[in-house]
Symmetry: C2
Subunit: 248 residues, 2 copies
DNA sequence: TGCCGGCCTTGATCTGCGTCAAGGCGACGG
DNA sequence: CCGTCGCCTTGACGCAGATCAAGGCCGGCA
């Protein structure tokens, strides 16, 4: 809907907002033109549910700005976050009618959407799009498995440290800074959302953040901004071996 | 290496052992012939580590018979299973040199392998192979996310029930039986392996299995065989809503 | 300016699961 | 036939994190 403006996105997106890593990294001009035709923008407010699990999804999309979460819920209300969507992440899947998870905006979100049917058509015509999508999906799968180790085997303190480290790495990957030295990240999640990410309660999250602050591993600026004086120290707390992730 | 023998595999594999769902579902005869050239079989014994995390992987493969697991380990020995490979499952990824996880044979395993480089080449030439692989990877991602809900939010009892239900569903999908009524499944995992799957200890696994048996939800035949008198009851214990999974 | 609502922190207590420890069962080899 | 070894079960106890409860901070709004 919105006309496309010249904002920067991520390194490999260049100036055109649809050049996000999801789809266009290797597109030819005519392919980009075709994508252009089926693309539109949507904005969502913080807290809004973009998509309910089970709903029809007639588009695929990628996040331009903001943060959204994928969550699953049990009948009794227990909920678990199963994906964290940061700028340049892709959501939705070609070939599937219905959304398997709730997608919820954690902050105000701008999405770049493509109508699903024509997108699928385009995929058939341009194999490198599905190859790119395969690579991305494999990366997501790796991230999900890293996360499974976190959920199954890490202590509360390690979980918090891991979450901060993961977001910091992603953040830095986007800005192409090295993940060392003093770092400031923006963590736009409520304590409850973090708890849902980590399989904890919000009280435990709060306590462990306080503990990490007390121990000098992190510092807080306001409510949502975290300073990491020493990234190595944080990684040690996270219990990750070596570089601890495949997100670069 | 081995010459290809006429054993049955799974429904969609037909009689040719390389027609597993991973690669060949839509292959033309000439494509099959090319696959045939780069394919070989390997067997592994129960307990053997097929691949160490970080090792070079010069093949991709799919499981013909037996069960294998993907596991991650922390330096201090805590381990978490992140994938369960049953017959027809695919392992390895085109485009990545090194294996991200340990792959361990839970039972004796027969794998159908393809040399990686020529396989990648073949993928470039036949787009439907990468499309098929994308579908499979998306399914795996869904399964991983289901599993994250299990790890993060379910109780020990629910975890055990879920594991049994998942394996039963997979088992039945392969044999195309309906998942209702009295069912017998073979669960070829030690208590310790189950614990690593579920983020528990082996003692807790043992206790919860005993409890489910005491409560009539399951019955045991020998050590590794489980009878499910009422699948609905099991699903209720697992805390899954409705059909509780995307594995059909 | 003061009230209200959302979000966060902290304390007290409870409990599910982990930890430690002892022993049982079945397979296999001598 | 018995000893050994791998795997499983069961019990006693402790603790990390959940639960319940009270109150603090801050921004929006009348």
């Amino acid at each position: 809907m919105t006309q496309h403006q010249p904002f920067r996105l991520t390194q490999d997106c260049g100036d055109c907002p649809i050049r996000h890593r999801a789809v266009c990294a290797r597109c030819e001009p005519d392919e980009l033109a075709r994508l252009e035709e089926i693309k539109y923008y949507r904005t969502f407010e913080a807290g809004q549910t973009l998509i309910w699990a089970g709903d029809r999804m007639d588009f695929v999309a990628s996040v331009v700005t903001g943060v959204a979460t994928l969550t699953q819920t049990m009948e009794d209300g227990r909920t678990q976050m199963v994906g964290l969507l940061l700028p340049s992440d892709f959501v939705g899947r070609p070939g599937r009618e219905r959304a398997p998870y709730n997608v919820i905006a954690a902050t105000d979100v701008l999405m770049c959407c493509f109508r699903r049917k024509p997108f699928e058509e385009l995929m058939r015509l341009t194999p490198h799009i599905s190859q790119r999508l395969l690579e991305m999906t494999l990366d997501e799968l790796d991230a999900a498995r890293e996360w499974m180790l976190l959920l199954g085997r890490k202590t509360a303190r390690e979980k918090i440290a891991s979450l901060i480290a993961i977001v910091a790495r992603r953040d830095q990957a986007l800005r192409l800074r090295a993940p060392s030295g003093r770092t400031v990240i923006d963590l736009p999640l409520t304590r409850e959302a973090m708890a849902d990410y980590l399989g904890l309660t919000l009280e435990t999250v709060s306590r462990q953040i306080s503990a990490l602050k007390r121990d000098g591993v992190i510092e807080l600026q306001g409510m949502r901004s975290i300073v990491i004086p020493d990234f190595r120290a944080l990684q040690d707390e996270a219990g990750d071996d070596a570089d601890g992730g495949f997100l670069a």
